[in-house]
């Protein structure tokens, strides 16, 4: 887990990552080469600048938040394992996984964990609630600058009012899950990592 001078991937690393995230061998190697190409500093870890160098990410309204999601609390570097751990959330859900290992806990790409990942992107202060302000921030990022604050405010109010069941004027994780129960999250939040 520590920083390695050599940036080659060892077999036992691949095995560990495979067990933890569920990616296949070829997927891991492919993603490793991508990691390597992003890592301009050649130090085996990515920094925020490395991510920001990706052009499409710069124009993505949620770009900064996504980048932040890769970095664990307070750190500025993410190594390959952390990289893979985050990406594991987007692996498609497979039916046969449910039978494999009931004791190992929920896999990273289960529906609940996917939703949790998305929830954490809203909830910056990690208080397990999406407050009105946090929602407003996200809305502002997605909608652009043309819309007035009041309008955005009323949309945010409406959103919270629709989702809120316990009356605390914010959206908790369970409420978030409930609202999205009709949305096919398994498909929407999955990327087809080619073999």
């Amino acid at each position: 887990m520590g920083s390695r001078a050599s940036s080659l991937l060892r077999e036992e690393d691949i095995e560990e990552i495979k067990k933890e995230t569920g990616f296949s061998h070829s997927q891991i190697t492919r993603l490793y080469s991508r990691f390597h190409s992003l890592d301009k500093g050649e130090n085996g870890a990515l920094s925020r600048e490395d991510f920001q160098r990706i052009p499409e990410l710069a124009i993505n309204p949620l770009g900064d938040r996504i980048i932040n999601a890769f970095f664990p609390e307070g750190e500025d570097q993410v190594n390959f394992r952390g990289f893979m751990r985050t990406l594991a959330h987007f692996r498609p859900v497979e039916d046969n996984e449910k039978n494999k290992d009931p004791t190992s806990g929920e896999p990273l790409n289960s529906r609940a964990n996917k939703l949790l990942f998305a929830f954490r992107l809203y909830d910056l202060d990690r208080d397990d609630k999406i407050s009105r302000d946090e929602l407003l921030q996200v809305l502002r990022m997605m909608v652009g600058v043309n819309i007035s604050d009041e309008q955005l405010g009323s949309i945010a109010d409406r959103t919270i009012q629709e989702a809120d069941t316990n009356g605390d004027m914010s959206i908790s994780f369970s409420e978030f899950t409930k609202v999205l129960e009709k949305v096919d999250v398994e498909q929407k939040m999955s990327i087809r990592f080619l073999h």
Binding site: L57, M142, E162, K188, L194
Partner: protein, 777 residues
């Protein structure tokens, strides 16, 4: 009682139809060239003859006051009669709910057609046949346009790969499998089918292989399965038209030529690409033209729907000129123009388009099935047990094998795999219909001497699929517990989070360097926003983000509901903003805030509603002008409104049971009751207020319980209503009086104007009274 009357009327109609229809039908002889039952417009000739005759005779005859001249109007009359009869049949089925729940409509209509055809034959006349030209030019386009215009684009594009696989590869597989095996069967000595050559079999196979959109729509509409399966089968039925067209022309050409070389096969493949892509391009061009035209229709709202219909029809016809796939052109046209047109046109035009399309497609659909029945009775048949049986068997087997095989391959690439239940429904839902029939009908007799046999076989297959599969699919769906369609509306939460997830996924894909689905969708959206929307959408709307448009649309819908049912005294804005204001306690002070100025449209709306409400006692006749439309929120009539209000009142009572109102200390149970049952607008309805003349309720406060409960009506499925923040002590209630209504308006007008802030619309500035419906695809 209703049913008996209806049966009487329809009996009369059918009787007249039998007499007239039979008289006009041309004999549908076997392999001779079938002339369509078209009556030439030679009405002038008989008239001339008559006048000639009159002149020749001595002028002894008196002036004919009443004369019979049926020939003049024969064609339109009969067409109208058929349409009327078809629609009455449709009406009749729904009067018998038990029957329509067991048997799908399409089956019943075919049976009716059979009966009518049988009747006509009994009378001695020859029943008319479903002419291919009429079918392809008049009956099919409305159905396809309806399907294309309301195509759920999102699901369609997400499953496009799967749909294309089924449509192209599946249809090819079906065609060759059935054609080849049939040829094998024909070679059997016992069958007496030796003269059917390979090409005929292949052609027949290709006609037979196409899943029919009309039949699929007719059956699937009624069983409400989940969207994925619906779009898969339906999308397949739409897209396989290109394959069918190419194969049909290919084999028809080949049957002329004697040898088939590899070049021909290669050209066939090229032809397929040209036909399908060409059709789409033609459709897209017309779609863009339509969108562009709709940008300028803000002053002539009345003809907006016309552009949609005519451009689409032109797309279809233009594609047919070049033998491209007309269906794909129509779909492309509808799908391309929809987002832009809907952003430009008025709400009324939107409704008009929707209802006209539904109406036309419904009539077409009905006529097609009835004519199928009639043609079955009419058509010359050549029944050959072996051929027909083999056709049916191979058709079913091919479908099942094709679906299983293709799903196996497709599942390797899909994120959400298709289960075997899904596969079963897809295979079972492959219905054949009138398109196949018409295509066989078009075959020329010279090249296909066994055309009648083909006709018989195809009718058998159609009947089997529509009757057996159509009738049993519904209980099977229930039996297998296939997921059904979810009826709930899309909430704003879903909208926001879905967009959020889209951005998220696009970002992740970019990080992985993986150019997948989301990447291209995002690119397309960006391109759309930057260039296309500016050209095709009028005015301010072009800059409106999708989210805002969706939000507006939702608000508008609720506002319209409120105006129609609540009597308009509470303005549309009262509902959403009352909600947001009353629920968020700390924000209560925000209502005192000064508002930004109202847009002109809102002011006009307020004024209009006030005007109509206040002057209700006097009947107002709007001057009728053909070129403009005046929005009238009171179109429904006063009685209905009273009924609705009463319903609302009852609902209020129910809702209020949940209220935990901090009752002011001076409250007594009678006051609470009075508060609950009072409603100043409803006059003539007895309320408890009469018993408590001394209590007065002040309704001028914006937080009065009534406006509260009005909004509760719309939150039935939602959370518990929040507490009423009633802090004005001493609720007072006056005995309801006519002046009360007017009085309500003026004090209400102010807070309601303040509440308008939620609907501040950056949309088009100067608008007429038509409500603009922001559209979200």
């Amino acid at each position: 009682m209703e049913l008996k009357m209806f049966l009487l009327v329809s009996g009369l109609l059918v009787g007249s139809l039998v007499a007239l229809g039979g008289a006009s039908g041309s004999p549908a002889k076997g392999c001779k060239d079938n002339k369509p039952p078209v009556i030439e417009k030679d009405c002038h000739e008989p008239a001339k003859n008559r006048t000639d005759k009159k002149e020749n005779e001595t002028v002894k005859k008196s002036f004919p006051v009443l004369s019979l001249d049926y020939e003049n109007v024969r064609l339109p009359f009969e067409i109208s009669l058929w349409v009327l009869m078809a629609s009455l049949m449709k009406l009749g089925f729904h009067l018998m709910p038990r029957l329509s729940s067991i048997v799908p409509e399409s089956c019943l209509l075919i049976v009716v057609g059979l009966l009518v055809g049988g009747l006509i034959k009994l009378v001695g006349e020859v029943p008319p046949v479903l002419e291919s030209k009429i079918f392809f030019f008049y009956l099919l386009p409305p159905i396809i346009l309806d399907a294309g215009y309301f195509l759920p684009i999102r699901q369609f594009t997400e499953n496009l790969g799967t749909i294309l696989m089924f449509a192209v590869v599946g249809t090819l597989w079906n065609a060759f499998f059935v054609g080849g095996l049939l040829y094998g069967v024909c070679q059997l000595q016992s069958a007496n089918l030796g003269d059917v050559n390979l090409l005929s079999c292949l052609l027949f196979g290709s006609i037979l292989s196409a899943v029919d959109p009309v039949a699929v729509l007719a059956v699937f509409e009624e069983i409400h399965i989940n969207e994925l399966l619906h779009i898969l089968v339906f999308g397949e039925s739409l897209l396989n038209d290109a394959v069918t067209v190419v194969l049909y022309h290919l084999f028809e050409e080949f049957s002329n030529a004697n040898t088939i070389t590899a070049t021909d096969v290669f050209l066939g493949v090229v032809c397929f690409l040209v036909v399908s892509l060409g059709g789409i391009v033609v459709g897209a061009i017309y779609g863009i033209l339509a969108a562009f035209t709709s940008r300028f229709t803000s002053h002539t709202r009345v003809i907006e729907p016309l552009f949609v219909f005519v451009y689409s029809y032109m797309a279809y016809l233009s594609a047919e000129v070049f033998h491209l796939s007309g269906i794909m052109a129509l779909i492309a046209c509808g799908a391309v123009m929809r987002p832009y047109v809907e952003a430009n046109i008025s709400h009324k035009s939107h409704t008009t388009i929707k209802y006209f399309l539904k109406m036309w497609s419904s009539v077409s659909d009905t006529l097609i099935f009835i004519f199928l029945g009639v043609s079955t009775v009419a058509g010359p048949h050549e029944w050959n047990w072996i051929f027909v049986g083999a056709t049916l068997f191979f058709c079913l087997v091919a479908r099942v094998l094709g679906v299983i095989g293709l799903t196996f391959v497709i599942n390797k690439f899909r994120i959400v795999k298709l289960t075997s239940k899904d596969q079963f429904i897809i295979a079972y839902g492959g219905l054949r219909g009138a398109i196949a029939f018409s295509l066989v009908y078009l075959l020329s007799c010279d090249h296909f001497p066994r055309k009648n046999m083909f006709l018989t076989a195809i009718i058998t297959v159609i009947f089997f699929t529509v009757f057996v599969q159509g009738m049993t699919i519904r209980p099977l769906v229930d039996l297998l517990a296939v997921k059904k369609k979810q009826e709930t509306k899309r909430s704003i939460n879903e909208e926001i989070h879905t967009q959020f997830l889209d951005h998220l996924l696009t970002g992740i894909e970019d990080i992985c360097g993986h150019y997948g689905h989301h990447h291209w969708k995002d690119k397309l959206n960006r391109f759309n926003k930057k260039y296309v929307k500016k050209c095709l959408i009028a005015g301010e709307r072009s800059k409106e983000p999708q989210l805002i448009a969706f939000y507006h649309k939702m608000e508008m819908k609720q506002a319209i509901e409120l105006v129609e049912s609540g009597g308009g005294s509470k303005l549309p804005s009262a509902m959403p903003s009352t909600v947001s204001m009353q629920n968020i306690q700390p924000k209560r002070s925000s209502q005192e805030r000064a508002l930004p100025q109202l847009s002109k449209a809102r002011e006009e709306e307020i004024r209009k509603i006030l005007r109509t409400n206040l002057q209700k006692t006097r009947q107002r006749l709007y001057s009728y002008n053909r070129h403009t439309l005046i929005a009238d929120p009171y179109e429904d009539g006063w009685n209905e409104m009273l009924i609705r209000r009463k319903k609302m009142k009852d609902l209020e009572k129910k809702m209020n049971n949940y209220l935990t109102v901090p009752a002011p200390p001076s409250d007594s149970p009678s006051v609470a009751r009075a508060r609950l049952t009072s409603d100043p607008q409803v006059r003539g309805l007895k309320s408890a207020t009469k018993n408590i003349p001394s209590i007065k309720v002040d309704f001028a406060s914006p937080q009065n319980p009534e406006s509260f409960s009005v909004e509760d009506e719309f939150r039935q499925k939602g959370s518990q209503p929040k507490e009423s923040k009633e802090d004005d002590g001493g609720l007072t209630m006056k005995v309801p009086s006519p002046e009360k209504q007017k009085k309500d308006k003026t004090p209400d007008e102010e807070p309601q104007q303040r509440l308008m802030r939620c609907l501040s619309d950056p949309g088009p500035a100067a608008e007429e009274e038509d409500e603009d419906d922001p559209f979200l695809p």
